[in-house]
Amino acid sequence: MKLVVVDYESGNLRSVSRALESCGVAPLVSGDPQDLSNADAVALPGVGSGPAAMTALQQRGLVEPLREFALSGRPFLGICLGLQLLLDWTDEEGGAPCLGIVPGRVKRLPPTTSGGTGFNGTPPPTLKIPHMGWNSVTLNANHQALSDIDSNSYFYFVHSYYAEPADSAGVLGTTEYGLPFCSVYAQKGIVATQFHPEKSGAVGLRIYRNFVAMAAEKSRGTPHP
């Protein structure tokens, strides 16, 4: 099985590779478009700015190969920015087009108060941006990528923007931070999370294990159960 972690000089590649290795696979870390076209499964990590990431992907000739792969139905895992990049457009840094695989838009988390009253009746603090730390994910539907994961499990988030898919059908998990937003998206072969499963301890590794199982089935040609 050929599982490619897309290398476009965006941060946490090592953590993602290690998480996959802990599931018993040896991922190929590559920024070569050729490696995408014949991969069985692809993981797209990403931290930092969406427009900068798009520029980096364009420079490496990865935009079309990524679109083709993700639309082919083969297992595709998007992580954090790797979820946001799937959409049509991001508002980040004045706005930029993204991969256009999932209809929808990436928006900034709104400035808001945490509600209620603060300590000893003082005014409530405003919510900090980035949304950083462990928050719970409410699961709305079953999916192979989420098997053995309880709804309201905690995952590690760090982001200032969130994905808003136009069609809610693929929104399998939501999280609250000032507003409810899409924290897990899955549709056909695509699985994407706003949180970092590779930084979310044992429960996060389960997502990698499930993804590797999807990839193994696909590479053997067995039908999706």
Binding site: G11, R18, A19, P111, T126, G133, V158, K199, G201
Partner: protein
């Protein structure tokens, strides 16, 4: 106490705080000082084979429910940097929670090496004060989520010479100097060098420059075990839109609660109360959860 307890705790939070508050939990972060690749400051866990091994200790804190780990290179000499890169690599191979590394990181090349080795964030202290542009350069290349500015702050004790405005001696940019309203001064080089910079103003400037998080240490309270400097913590938390980690002074679990509630910190960093086995992280979470603080349940 266990899973069932936390289920009840979750319901309690939903009812009291309201659904709109979300359930972003407050983080409890053990801090490990590393010297020459070994954890120092006497760590006493009975189950450890080698208390000085960063990877083994990291695994224990991960199991106990630590929400992140901070490693500080206290030697911070140039030849210790390679050792620290190796430590980060080994820890990140075994522990799947966020890792922050600080100490002696001076330029974008240092930041890149740490991130490539497996760190998720780097903390900049002296280098950020001496060269504030480093914050922006790091944030532009790697994202502001991985640039933590660490501030060592000490209470100002004005004598008869209380100044209207004393321009700071560091290179932190204009308008950051101590003035009559200043209450805490930034120190660099491990607390050895006063800078003349106002700590609250510096925190706000660091965020403008691209820092995604502030690690705030009270030099007055560090090691005293009588609680965090709540006024400092609250002042910095309210002056910055990004998360603030309170550090310095934890002596019991009530101190953690005070920093998170009265101090409005988003996370608490502690070393000795966990290292010496006075409290486990699980006990800290039970305690905080019992007082209505949202904390991540732990498996233990």
């Amino acid at each position: 106490m266990g899973v069932g307890w936390y289920t009840a705790g979750g319901v309690f939070l939903i009812l009291i705080r309201g659904w709109w508050a979300g359930l972003l939990t407050k983080r409890i972060i053990p801090c490990l000082d590393v010297d020459g690749g070994r954890v120092v400051k006497g760590v006493s866990f009975v189950e450890l084979r080698d208390a000085g091994d960063p990877a083994e200790l990291a695994a224990v804190y991960d199991r106990e429910g630590g929400d992140e780990l901070v490693f500080l290179d206290i030697t911070a000499s140039s030849d210790s940097r390679d050792t620290m890169v190796d430590v980060v690599r080994r820890v990140s191979e075994e522990v799947f929670i966020p890792l922050t590394v600080g100490g002696g990181i001076r330029n974008v090349g240092d930041i890149r090496r740490m991130l490539k080795a497996g760190a998720d964030k780097v903390s900049l202290n002296t280098a950020a004060v001496n060269n504030p542009a480093l914050i922006g350069e790091g944030a532009a290349q790697f994202g502001n989520q991985c640039i933590v500015v660490a501030i060592d702050a000490k209470r100002v004790s004005w004598g008869a010479e209380r100044p209207e405005h004393s321009e700071h001696r560091g290179a932190g940019g204009g308008g950051l100097g101590l003035d009559a309203g200043s209450r805490w001064e930034v120190y660099t080089r491990g607390g050895r060098t006063p800078t003349g910079i106002d700590a609250v103003k510096w925190a706000a400037r660091a965020v403008e420059l691209g820092s995604g998080e502030i690690l705030l240490t009270s030099m007055d309270e560090d090691g005293q075990k009588r609680g965090y400097d709540l006024e400092l913590t609250r002042a910095v938390s309210e002056a910055t839109p990004v998360p603030v980690i309170a550090s310095g002074g934890a002596g019991n679990l009530g101190h953690l609660y005070d920093a998170l509630e009265a101090g409005r910190a988003d996370a608490v960093l502690a070393a000795s109360i966990f290292h010496f086995g006075e409290y486990s992280i699980g006990e800290a979470k039970d305690y905080l959860g019992g007082r209505g603080v949202a904390v991540r349940p732990y498996a233990g």
